[in-house]
């Protein structure tokens, strides 16, 4: 059910929830709510991003629809989060990409692939592209080293910069001191809470996801996705280290650290996203916003396909198909990085910022709002 104004709706919900508080043990949202008696717009955005969408507060709510109070926090907060993603998109002209995530991801990835293919064909020619290349520097025979460094370096920096702008704007609006997020103890706590997905468990036996029965499945799939991503990132970092410190050029041996990290991470990025998609398709439509599926699905598919093409490339890298597979894989990587700041990935940025703020709030003395 779409409502005209999720901010007004969220304020109504928080007023009722604050008089009930039964959900306080499920996650960080409700303890954060209890620190407040009024809910200005920016605080609602903070609470919405603190919400991990575990669904417990919906399935355990005596006031959920069809009750006349019609309390549905996960759905309302999902809408508020989507609003905040658009609000903090930079440059603002790209904020519309969030609403057309599927189309945008597909088109940007296709263009990336096309561009790389044209560059390869133009710079090294079709016969080199379709030949076998073995040994150190084989990948640079397909796309020259400097081109790769400049292109991927620039795109990575762009993505990082945009995400950083989003983080800082979000932080500014939350009203904490500008450099407050670097405070060591709350920052460390937020990192720890994020790394173990502390609040993706409903406070005990797991999320009530995809249906009412608590389950830890989603957290495991999310871990596979997240640590798979991290492992692939580590593989790239180690490879860069090998190249620039030791002068060893890719491709590396099957048991080399970059290949092992990339393969393990790649497996995580195959299983995790597929698992999350599988759960998503079975999820209860009431607390979950189906209209946000395109954004979620686009990101998961991009992760999956980036990993899949990477693993196929690894398997066939000694064959003449290597050239085309490399271009295809890098096309997906480029598409993934270009769309990173305008899709589902940003949830990590704002949720992490919200976790830091929560850790800061919890480190302060709690105001007393009387007894009931």
């Amino acid at each position: 059910m779409p409502f005209a104004d999720p901010v007004t709706e969220a304020e109504r919900l928080m007023t009722i929830c604050n008089a009930c508080r039964y959900c306080e043990g499920h996650c960080a949202v409700f303890p954060a709510m209890e620190l407040r008696t009024v809910f200005p717009n920016n605080d609602l955005i903070y609470l919405a991003n603190l919400c991990h969408n575990c669904g417990s507060c919906y399935h355990h709510c005596q006031y959920a629809p069809p009750h006349e109070f019609s309390i549905n926090i996960p759905k309302t907060f999902a809408e508020l989060r989507a609003q905040s993603y658009r609000r903090y998109a930079w440059p603002a002209v790209f904020s519309g990409l969030f609403e057309r995530s599927g189309l945008a991801s597909g088109a940007i990835t296709a263009v990336s692939f096309g561009l790389l293919m044209l560059l390869s064909l133009g710079l090294v020619g079709p016969s080199v592209l379709s030949a076998r290349h073995l040994g150190g520097g084989a990948f640079y025979a397909i796309l020259p080293h400097d081109l790769m460094v400049v292109l991927f370096g620039a795109v990575s920096l762009y993505a990082l910069g945009v995400l950083a702008v989003g983080f800082l704007c979000f932080w500014r609006d939350m009203g904490e001191s500008p450099a407050g997020w670097v405070a060591s103890a709350p920052f460390a706590r937020a990192v720890w809470d994020a790394l173990r997905l502390r609040y993706l468990d409903g406070g005990a036996d797991g999320c009530t996801y995809p249906q009412e029965a608590p389950s830890r499945t989603r957290r495991w799939f999310h871990h596979l996705t997240f640590y798979g991503f991290l492992s692939c990132f580590a593989a790239t970092s180690v490879a860069a280290f090998y190249e620039y410190v030791f002068g060893w050029e890719a491709p590396y041996g099957l048991w080399s650290l970059p290949v092992v990290l990339g393969t393990v991470g790649g497996m995580g990025l195959l299983i995790g996203p597929v698992g999350l998609l599988w759960l998503k398709l079975r999820s209860d439509p009431e607390p979950n916003r189906r209209d946000q599926f395109p954004m979620d699905v686009a990101f998961l598919l991009l992760l999956f396909l980036t990993s899949l093409t990477g693993l196929i490339l690894l398997a066939l890298r000694t064959t003449p198909a290597m050239g085309s597979l490399l271009v295809l894989h890098l096309g997906f990587v480029l598409g993934l990085f270009l769309t990173l700041p305008y899709g589902k990935f940003v949830h990590a940025i704002y949720r992490f910022a919200a976790l830091i703020r929560y850790a800061i709030e919890r480190s302060r003395p709690v105001p007393r709002t009387g007894q009931e």
């Binding site: 009930c20 039964y22 406070g203 007894q371 009931e372």
Partner: protein, 465 residues
Amino acid sequence: MADMSREYDVLVAGGGNAGLCAAITARQRGASVLLLECAPRFFRGGNSRHTRNLRYMHLRADKIMTGAYPEDEFWEDLLRVTQGNTNEALARLTIRMSADLGSWMTAHGVRFQPPLGGTLHLGRTNAFFLGGGKALVNAYYRTAERLGVEIAYDTEVHELNIQDSVFSSAVVLQAGSSRKVKARTFVAAAGGFEANIPWLKESWGEAADNFIIRGTPYNTGRVLRVLLDKGVKPVGDARQCHAVAVDGRAPKFDGGIVTRLDCVPFGIVVNRNAERFYDEGEDFWPKRYAIWGRLVAQQPDQIAYVIIDSKPLGQFMPPVFPPVVANSIRELAHAVGLAPDGLEATVSRYNRAVRSGTFDPTILDSCGTQGLDPPKSHWALPLDRPPFYAHSLRPGITFTYLGVSVDEQARVIMADGKRAANILAAGEIMAGNILGKGYLAGFGMTIGSVFGRIAGKEAAAHAVR
């Protein structure tokens, strides 16, 4: 879909905490069990879905509770609130058997958490359900389904075939048609009659039309009525119910916890005639809020208004409905529909009577009135700092005390003193045996859990015998 054409070992009427405990226990002992819930699936669980904690005896602090709560202290608490309106044998049985509830509930899917914000005073005696009563109800339904308890929603027990205090079958209503369900034993766990306004009118007259029912609209007391009509011995005061003052704008049914108002000790309460009628500062609110339902019920039109000024804002749990706000007492009277002269007179009389003291909401402080009738004994500060705020108050009915008499095996007792062979009762329908008066936080769930388990055990033993 439950098969209602076969004969079950155990038929449970009511799908709240007590009925679920009975169904689970009976099924674990090998009985075939059919549980009938008259609400649709979403509203299943009766008033249990509005609860949030339960009290159980424990000899030392555990993971959930901060200190020991031994049998004698528990019993004294009960004796105090009931003023002796209790059956000591059943009460002590309940208390003793509550000792293993924490582990039993955990084993059947219920999770606990530390006391909620604003309820620290219950942290030693009461265990809070993670996610509240509906989470508990959901967990029990999952457990019951996994064990093979058959469940039928939207199904109301309408009649019982009882001959010589022996149950043989029930007539149930489902989707507008009635049918007979046979079973070897019957467990009545269908709650009280607090949602049955015509029945409430038998004691309260037309005033009952203005009552707000805090819990489920499905507690119509049908099973209780039938059992009493069939000659079961009643227990508890038929004319009494537990009532608190709730926000006058609360929904007629099912408003639950959020409609309570905690600002009474910080202001004054007037009736429709803009007159005060009771000491708002008599004692701490958690100890006194249960009497205000009755107080408001005795006022004309069963309505009252609590009025505060700006000073105490932020010192009580935030109310769910926004207050009426005005910059003067006169405007406030207009806004809520009270006589402006009358309210001004009441407020100025009160303000003049306030004696200076040291305001402290955490103790019975020295701020009281002098020469005022009724007095305000504590936390009396003049209403002088605008804006002024008003909330309307109505009686909010929590539960009724009338029930069926039971013995230690949860068997119902007939008017002639005979024990029914195969009719058992658990939960609110028999709580009046133990809690004949007053209120003890989380004790209703204790009675329901203990007697649910007893009833399930006895029912299975009788049916499988």
